[in-house]
Symmetry: C2
Subunit: 364 residues, 2 copies
DNA sequence: AATATTAGTAAAATGAATTTACTAATTAGA
DNA sequence: TCTAATTAGTAAATTCATTTTACTAATATT
């Protein structure tokens, strides 16, 4: 419940212009004025600032009938960088990303039996490694994507599956002890949803869901153009949607949780295609029941399928679309398109750039 | 994606101050400065304006240790009015409400076999009736609460149950043809959730759910202090959460929808208490399964039970609390309190005032 | 070539919020 | 009981992001 004063409004407007150029590029100053509601003079001023800071560049012009041609603007590649990390179940990915979501200097190391201390050390080493390879002047922040559950507001990794000795790790604080860059931590599902919003097929959509399936089932929701930050554990909780009240009891206390029916085996990606298709077919029947609950609640116009299941993204999307069409009265206004993500299994990494774009200012 | 300019920020800040005084009263200027982040001088200016407009009044003062006493502020009763309507399945309620949520001039007429035209006429008559009884200078807007489904953004009632001849009625436009007041239309569940937020037990909470059960099952969600406006049909869709994938097919296309198991009979309120208790006991078992899905997704700190079920609110809350405790691993941070609403069956009416407070400016 | 139209900019004006320097009212302690 | 310290609130001057007004730039139509 914070109020608006002049410096905050200024900051918001500049960020808004950056985002709109990113999502609508190529776009002209006049079009930006229309989208934002700001006067064309204000847009001129803001854009000049951004060009001077080398965040935005002019890129040709086109006339659409009478009158002076529009001068098109777009975000400049390689102008600024974020340091990105993705903490998965068994691996730590590190990389740099520019404002356009391009990934550079990608490296990964394996994780096993980590403790709070060992994981922190590996993370700090990874950051150091990326920092060395990028012009330090251009680094705007650090984005950490991590499997849940975590408390992103406080920057704490709570108790991720497979990390039996990691508990309540205040990773953001630990990074900030060593580095002055702003740091953001978000779970991989939310980050992947934002990846889709900033850089993917969701750029022009305001309501969609990213459904990530690897060993667990999770989802990130974009609602009214913004990440829905409902809850600390949100993204993981879709797996605990009850789809069979008379079903087996789950470790969460509930009965008939989706995760008990729809989860894929850990070695899924290494199986033969034929075998995967059979498993997928069965899984999607159940998955659809849970997904419909989400669709009913959030009314998305699209669902993007990702994480490890991206290897069979096309097939999964097809199977789910069919199941859902059979269980859902789609009117013209209410049609949900189910598609694989364009980032294949890299969504959480592109997501690390996206959470930085979402949280940090892209200019000095 | 609209930007912030000075007049918009000004408007937002004034509304914010009104809301904060409402929700935290009695509150001092300094405390408001702290909550909003605005300087104390700005708060002085805004409050002076509001006092001059008779929306706010000073109400005594208390010292808390050293220093000058705080001057407490609160919203003035009867200073401005909203015209409120509640379109239920079989009745149309009309009334006036002040900024504090007090209801005046309540009347109701019965509805039966209404068409677009007949319903519009009855609504306009009802508005006229209330308008006659209130100082016209003090009327700030019209709030219409209606059973769903409806499109509140466009102000259209789509196809409410029991109203077989009402379809796509642009009620807001119809009212605005005759009246110059701003008009807002919202479904009864969302409005009831806002009632709780502005005037009820949810005033100090930022995440809670209003669960309304009458003939159907619906919910309104307050998330991060704001009404979650997810979707046109949202509030009604909780009833179509699948709790049994192998269950009966529902009219919505899905199988095993909550509504098929947990709905109460139409004559529920007229039954004997003993009978109601037996029905409720069974219903709550299923209701809990659907409610847990909502709780998992939205992580509320409280659930308020209302609508017709408010007659047995205490009992329902108790039964649901027990069911949920057994199906949900509540940690210290994650505890959900289930309680009856303080407005008994009047939530949608108080909600009509709340949606006005949420949408309109309370000052000229 | 003149006119209408759209894109973009320079310089002056606006006005909400802040800053600075005050007044008002209270307690604690010398 | 007088003084210093502390908290609440206000008056007048200042700040600065945005807008307004009046322009220039570049294009198509007649």
């Amino acid at each position: 419940m914070k109020a608006q004063n002049q410096p905050i409004a200024k900051e918001n407007n500049r960020r808004l212009v950056v985002k709109l150029i990113l999502m609508h590029s190529p776009i002209s100053r006049m079009e930006l004025a229309g989208l934002t509601g700001l006067s064309k003079m204000t847009i001129t001023n803001i854009v000049s600032e951004l060009i001077k800071n080398e965040i935005v560049e002019e890129t040709g012009s086109t006339g659409s009938g009478v009158g002076r041609k529009k001068i098109y603007l777009k975000i400049k590649q390689n102008s600024r960088f974020f340091i990105g990390l993705y903490i998965a179940r068994k691996q730590l990915f590190s990389f740099a990303a520019d404002l356009c979501g391009n990934i550079f200097c990608e490296k990964h190391i394996s994780l096993c039996n980590e403790t709070n201390d060992s994981l922190t050390r590996k993370v700090l080493d990874a950051v150091e490694n990326v920092e060395k390879r990028v012009d330090v002047q251009k680094i705007m922040g650090i984005g950490v994507t991590c499997i849940g559950p975590l408390d992103s507001e406080k920057g704490i990794i709570l108790s991720p599956p497979d990390f039996y000795d990691v508990h309540d790790l205040p990773l953001v604080k630990e990074i900030q002890k060593r580095y002055a860059y702003p740091v953001v931590l978000r779970n991989d599902m939310d980050a992947s949803a934002l990846a889709e919003k900033y850089y993917g097929a969701g750029r022009t959509l305001n309501n969609f869901i990213y459904l990530g399936i690897s060993d667990g089932i999770g989802a990130g929701v974009i609602s009214n153009g913004l990440l829905y930050k409902g809850n600390k554990g949100f993204s993981g909780e879709i797996g605990h949607t009850c789809i069979d009240i008379n079903g087996r009891r789950c470790s969460c206390g509930n009965t008939g949780c989706l995760e008990l029916y729809a989860a894929l085996p850990a070695d899924y990606v290494s199986l033969e295609y034929k075998e995967r298709a059979l498993l997928l077919d069965k899984s999607c029947k159940y998955l659809a029941a849970g997904l419909i609950t989400l669709i009913n609640l959030f009314d998305p116009s699209a669902v993007f399928i990702g994480h490890k299941l991206a290897v069979d993204g096309e097939l999964a999307a097809e199977l789910l679309q069919k199941e859902i069409n059979g269980r859902y009265l789609a009117s013209e206004q209410r049609r949900v398109e189910i598609k694989p993500t364009v980032f294949s299994e890299k969504s959480p990494m592109v997501g690390a750039a996206a959470i930085c774009m979402d949280e940090f200012r892209a200019y000095p």
